[in-house]
Symmetry: C2
Subunit: 382 residues, 2 copies
Amino acid sequence: MSRTFPADSVGLVTPQSAHFDEPLELDCGRRLPAYDLVFETYGELNRERSNAVLVCHALSGNHHAAGYHADDERKPGWWDKCIGPGKPIDTNRFFVVCPNNLGGCHGSTGPTAVNPDTGRIYGADFPIVTTRDWCRSQRRLGERLGIRCWAAVVGGSLGGMQVLQWAIDYPDQIKHAVVIAAAPRLSAQNIAFNEVARQAILSDPDFRAGHYAADGKLPRRGLALARMLGHITYLSDGAMREKFGRELREGKLSFNYDVEFEVESYLRYQGQSFVERFDANTYLLMTKALDYFDPAAEHGGDLATTLRAVEARSLVIAFTSDWRFPPQRSREMVKGLIDANKEVSYAEITSTLGHDAFLMDSPQYMRVLGNYLSRVAAEAGT
Amino acid sequence: MSRTFPADSVGLVTPQSAHFDEPLELDCGRRLPAYDLVFETYGELNRERSNAVLVCHALSGNHHAAGYHADDERKPGWWDKCIGPGKPIDTNRFFVVCPNNLGGCHGSTGPTAVNPDTGRIYGADFPIVTTRDWCRSQRRLGERLGIRCWAAVVGGSLGGMQVLQWAIDYPDQIKHAVVIAAAPRLSAQNIAFNEVARQAILSDPDFRAGHYAADGKLPRRGLALARMLGHITYLSDGAMREKFGRELREGKLSFNYDVEFEVESYLRYQGQSFVERFDANTYLLMTKALDYFDPAAEHGGDLATTLRAVEARSLVIAFTSDWRFPPQRSREMVKGLIDANKEVSYAEITSTLGHDAFLMDSPQYMRVLGNYLSRVAAEAGT
């Protein structure tokens, strides 16, 4: 007997894959001779091909944004709260495409794939890709699917950075840019956190210069540490206080280094479970893509000049308690767009949840996103 | 030819050591059969023994708070900006005592010392000590030096927590409590950062369950990671931006995992140099002392009730850009003291330097501290 999914779920989904034989020139100067992109789609492309929405994922995300892969899958895709029939990214109206990024570890070509030049797993030989490289590869995927122009490109965090890059690089192929919980470039503190995470992985003896897979190893300790650290930056101080406080697992101090406080238990679990589903080389290159993202650098740091190229209208969303990419960073993008004479809406959502708020479904957030995308859909004729 | 030190320096200092044969009962339930405390003193104890100031150090500090150990020592003690003739902690007026904490790694009995019960280095067998244990051991040191009552106990960060504990535990032996950049207990986020630092050390294969010294090893990678992470929390986002921005060491991206951004270079240096001067087991137990500090826990979390015992007058100082222990946490202590009907002064110093500001000599900070301690000195008859 098959499971009944909620009416607002896209239900069972099957990932698809596209193979690209045309080499891809990368920002680093190297080229990928060929590559695959795994992706999911939800909803139907209309006859005018005007209702396609590209969803870009964040650091540890993938193509499984909504619905379920199997009847017995416990948790739906990572943005299921947002994508589905009647949800803000309404699959009754939009044709939604979510690819796993190049360099990822969930099916798209990345460090865990076989290098056609050597017949061996890429590992550390996989090139460091940039946000711009991702947009380039996503554009080809769009072409393959018959999409000449996206009704909207949408993403949070690193996903939001891809949205901004899309709007800059392919202005005539994106009507609306929805940039959530992002920043126009990382701060020194952001880079510092990434660097500690990278050092945790790189210094793990089982990392073996990135060729752990060939050696039958996994840099478990390093990757778990990186994820633990990441989690601290995804949650606000207040959210952690509400969620864990100073609660002790056993009700009393143990005077040793076992788990004592609830927050320790949470972090260790997050770290350990991440190791089972994520690749360390992918983690490294994703953090570099974050660090490198700085579209204004080509214009001497002048964001407004950089954004002159944009033709899309934009919605920028920030969350009050996000200290990873605080509202101030979103306002920099808004200011840049306004200074460049672009149409931009800005919403600062009150939330105690920190950066993670972009994955949650707070009513204010869902309303802002839903209303905006509803107008996008109407404009697209759906 | 010997070096001429500045007129406001305490000049050359020689650490002293005190041996205690009377066992010390610890909060963890264990006892130390005997122990040594290494310490430095600056200035002279007056005839009335009324001018003694105890300086408590922070997580990675030690007894070398001021002056120089040798003519060719490049950097003076860690709080030299504050301690010396004419400085806020004026050694013309005060007799200043700064011990290395029990469990430390700079001369006081700790994990790097020999366990008299086994004849081997303690390593991980050294007990986890608490802020209260430290105060207990410091009290004995005071007695040894003929000090019945401290004119003031002063400290920043973890040092400030010891000051608060002193005021609670030995109300008739401390006239003034100067609590700088501290908190009445750690938040879940604070504990989370400590936990990631601990996991970095504990998971380093060279940690060897804490007995690395016996095996001729050092958990370098883990300790360096812990320190790198610590440094992010000591600096504000703004301070990092001012200090490093997104400056690239080589002026361009390298597309590999070598040092690229200046902030990476800084962090790696901080991590690597720390390993040369600090012990991993000490680092672990210091973070636990921080996590455990929660004097109000004995009164169901009610800080005002806890602080009823206090007889000292207090000065609480916080720094606006400190996000490790933000002003809000200092105000909790101030509120607790006021609610308990105690005399307390509070200064919130404008600073962009983050938590590290407590070690710097901004004019406003030095003035507040100097003025307060000048009145303390006058009261002490010096």
